[in-house]
Amino acid sequence: MKTEDLIGVLAQDAPVAWRLSSRLAVAFSLGALIATTLFALAVGVRPDLLAVGGSARFLFKFSFALALLLGAAGAVTRIGRPGVGPGPWAFLLVALPIALALAVMVELFVTPEALWGTRLVGRNAAFCLTVIPILALAPLACLIIALRDSAPSRPGFAGAVAGLAAGGIAATLYASHCPDDSPLFVAVWYSSAIAMVVAAGYLMGARFLRW
């Protein structure tokens, strides 16, 4: 076929009825809705949420998860657009591990050494490692499907960022259930659970987001 003929074919398919931003917004909302429903039905918030909600450790844990969610969601909106840089959201994602490291140092400073082990292991580590990836499944699938219309320069990396956003949704929900508030617990178990989701996102991206 001559290129001129191909252009003729493409021209007949000119209109575009969709917007990447609205597809991503729908995917994000739908994924978050499914995860929240699942969380409300099967897990639920902790009974003493109102009592501990103002404590420094809980506030740090919850804000950490929420900031991760916002930063990664912002990055997802840009990752599939060719020629668009990472934007302000990337700074948030870089700042988060630093904030976590600082919080860990403060925790080690204010906590007697004898309690470090207890704080680190917590009460719910295995549950945390299970629930966060399960809650992240639906948001991750929705985001990957929406990103199939995008054009990421590195498909695996784009999938990993989608995994980070899905992990952020799951971690934010789970943070309102989990009785372990220590930054030590967050640094080890939340990070591991989110890393599992990111790895799954990477594999899905490498497989489904090529174009």
């Binding site: 074919v9 209109p15 575009v16 990447l20 020629g83 054009a151």
Partner: protein, 184 residues
């Protein structure tokens, strides 16, 4: 024409195209193609691919631009979007083709001996891939590409609604892109 005014013009054509203006879209693609072709030939040289691959590369890049045009944020300039998508796709397709470069020497000498120079805008991969399309998708692409009919005429000819032809055409183009990824 300066770079800035060309970018401005292309952006306007693309906006009209996304809103459904087939003539504007054709104009945009026709204006872009010579640049793609020059780039593809240079890249073929640097990747050690034969020049005859260049037009296949041009067509694959055009298809990628087509399927991904919804990722262009219309509030931003079109230049960076276009160069990123072209660079990504070109590197990708040449790398893939580079692995399969295997030209028997007879082909080369045939070309050298040919009286008529081969048509430099003719590509071959796409015909091989088109032949794997099925049913109405194949008929629609053939009707538009070979006979130059519009969607409306094609719908009348194939006894389909215009909407059905549009959907089938779009699916056919997506299938084409997937086949390029898998086969070439």
């Amino acid at each position: 024409m300066t770079l800035a005014s060309r970018e401005q013009e292309w952006a306007e054509l693309m906006r009209a195209a996304i809103a459904g203006d087939a003539a504007a879209y054709r104009g945009f693609l026709q204006a872009l193609t010579p640049h793609l072709r020059a780039m593809a030939r240079r890249r073929c040289d640097s990747y050690g691919s034969p020049h005859s691959d260049a037009e296949d590369v041009v067509q694959e890049v055009l298809l990628a631009i087509h399927l991904k045009r919804g990722t262009w944020d219309q509030d931003r300039p079109i230049g960076p979007w276009l160069s990123a998508i072209v660079r990504n796709k070109m590197v990708d397709t040449l790398r893939r083709r580079g692995r399969h470069v295997d030209i028997p020497i007879e082909d080369v000498s045939d070309v050298l001996q040919a009286d008529e120079p081969p048509d430099a805008t003719q590509a071959h991969d796409i015909d091989r891939i088109l032949s794997t399309l099925k049913g109405p998708q194949r008929d629609i692409v053939r009707s538009i590409s070979v006979d130059g009919t519009s969607v409306r005429e094609t719908a009348g000819r194939l006894n389909m609604t215009e909407g059905a032809v549009r959907v089938a055409l779009h699916r056919a183009l997506r299938t084409l892109a997937a086949a390029y990824r898998g086969n070439v």
